[in-house]
Amino acid sequence: MNWNVLLDFSPLADNSDKLLSAFWATIRISVTVGILSLVIGTLITAMRVSPIRVLRVAGAFYVNTLRNTPLTLVLLFCSLGLSDTLKFRISGTPSINFFWLAVFGMSVYTAAFVAESLRAGINTVPMGQAEAARAIGLTFTQSLRMVIMPQAFRSVIAPLGSVMIAMIKNTTVVLVASYYEAASLMKDMFEQYGATLPIFIGFAVGFMCLTLPTGFFFNWLAKRMAVVR
């Protein structure tokens, strides 16, 4: 009997420097994607609620296309399609190029979900709020800025938190876009040491250290900022 596969945590300890740098890569890509997807998502939401029909249709097309395509396909398209076939390279250095391609793929995908949450948030603002704002003589911009948007943003904090947690977990899929992060390291360690339980537990705990605090933070923020109705 060789109990090492169930109990031996030493591969994790031996590779602690690699482990830290791999999770740092995960954090780096998560933060970049988080910011970019919020920006793109907000733009798409603005298009989807605008009074201009063409923009609404384009926004809806974007959201429906990306929401229903598997992330694996989106990222594979970025690495094999954009970079290798269409010669669309962001940087000459492969590692930087693949980082930004992965960020691009993840961001456009996550942005669709961000846009969907934001739009749902705008829909939760009761019609009466806008009508009351108009009745007391606020102009369109004023009512948007002072009445509707503050309520809309507050009500989407929790759903946005869900999207961000899912995004952090999804960064593992950038493996297919040749960017080296925690999941890639786990795969390599499985090849080197065999697929042992402690290695898996170690990586699972590593990801929980990223997702759980994110969840608690957004929950706390959502409660703090909740609109009393």
Partner: protein
């Protein structure tokens, strides 16, 4: 949880024509000046969008991706019968098996988590929270290569885990845990008075659950369940990484290897995935409308959460 399941309000019935025009809470019905401005903006945005489409097509053309030679395989019957249909079959097989098992897993652990016995409730909760918090991909890796290694080290014979088994088991564990939370939320969404009334007329715990809570909760959580199944279908594409023969693999690895048409293949495969998912999503919307009309439940319908379309981003329980 309650914030995450906010209902998307429908636009209210419009009493006048002016109200009908208004498509959002954000802007007034446009007057003549605003309509003029909108027309100009429409023109500008149409030009911008056309310009983007032009740039994309020009780029594709420059790299020779629009040649008929590359698209031809997709109008040949053999491509469909040899690659695409088997691929769709593989995807649907994994998704279906995963869905059935995930529903079972969800029912068992969702109910387990609501048990009155602490020794059932706590382990069930731990399992659900664990599988919800970790990325599906590392779970797939472990289920794929873990059991043989472990069995080997313990001097036991263990047959190799196939890619299909690994994918289905991972999909079950992960989506089952998310579904368990949906079930729990659904049962909790039934007003307390319902179960109190049921106890008052003398039903036992199992009777209250079976006759009162589950039927009402099912109606309320149907849309959320279906949208989780869309996630499951999409996640089955992760099988690519362990070389499972699904639509992504046959369509995006095998076809391009043979014909060298990566871009056309990506577009066709994406369209098929979108069609499959939209069909399921429409089912979810239809169920949601239907259950909102229904008077058979007193529970508030768990709307499809905006984040739910993404692989299971439900918040950890506060």
């Amino acid at each position: 949880m309650s914030e995450a399941v906010s209902t998307v309000t429908e636009t209210e019935p419009a009493p006048t024509r002016a109200r009908k025009r208004q498509s959002s809470v954000l802007f007034d019905a446009p007057g003549p000046k605003a309509r003029m401005r909108h027309n100009i903006l429409t023109l500008i945005s149409a030009i911008v969008i056309l310009a983007i489409i032009y740039v994309v097509i020009a780029r594709l053309d420059k790299e020779g991706q629009l040649q008929g030679r590359l698209w031809k395989p997709f109008i040949k019957g053999s491509t469909w019968s040899d690659y695409i249909f088997p691929g769709i079959g593989g995807t649907l097989k994994a998704a279906l098996a995963g869905a059935v098992l995930a529903l079972l897993f969800g029912v068992v652990f969702g109910l387990g988590r609501m048990s009155d016995h602490r020794w059932v409730r706590i382990p069930a909760g731990a399992v659900v929270e664990f599988f919800r918090a970790i990325p599906l991909l590392i779970l797939i890796f472990f289920v794929f290569s873990g059991p043989p290694t472990i069995a080997n080290a313990l001097n036991r014979e263990f047959p190799q885990v196939t890619a299909f088994t690994a994918l289905v088991i991972s999909l079950m564990l992960y989506n089952g845990s998310v579904l368990a939370e949906i079930f729990r939320a659904g049962i909790n969404a039934v007003p307390r008075g319902q179960s109190e009334a049921a106890y008052a007329i003398g039903l036992r715990k199992s009777g209250v659950m079976r006759l009162i809570l589950i039927p009402q909760a099912t109606t309320a959580m149907m849309p959320a369940i279906v949208s989780q199944l869309v996630v499951l279908l999409k996640d089955s594409a992760l099988g690519w990484i362990i070389s499972y023969e699904d639509l992504l693999n046959t369509g995006y690895r095998q076809i391009p290897t043979q014909y060298g048409n990566l871009i056309p293949a990506a577009i066709v495969i994406a369209l098929i995935y979108i069609a499959m998912n939209l069909a399921l999503s429409y089912l979810a919307t239809w169920l949601e409308k239907r259950s909102r009309r229904s008077r058979k439940t007193s529970a508030k319908v768990l709307a499809t959460t905006p984040g739910a379309g993404m692989s299971g981003g439900i918040m950890p329980a506060p």
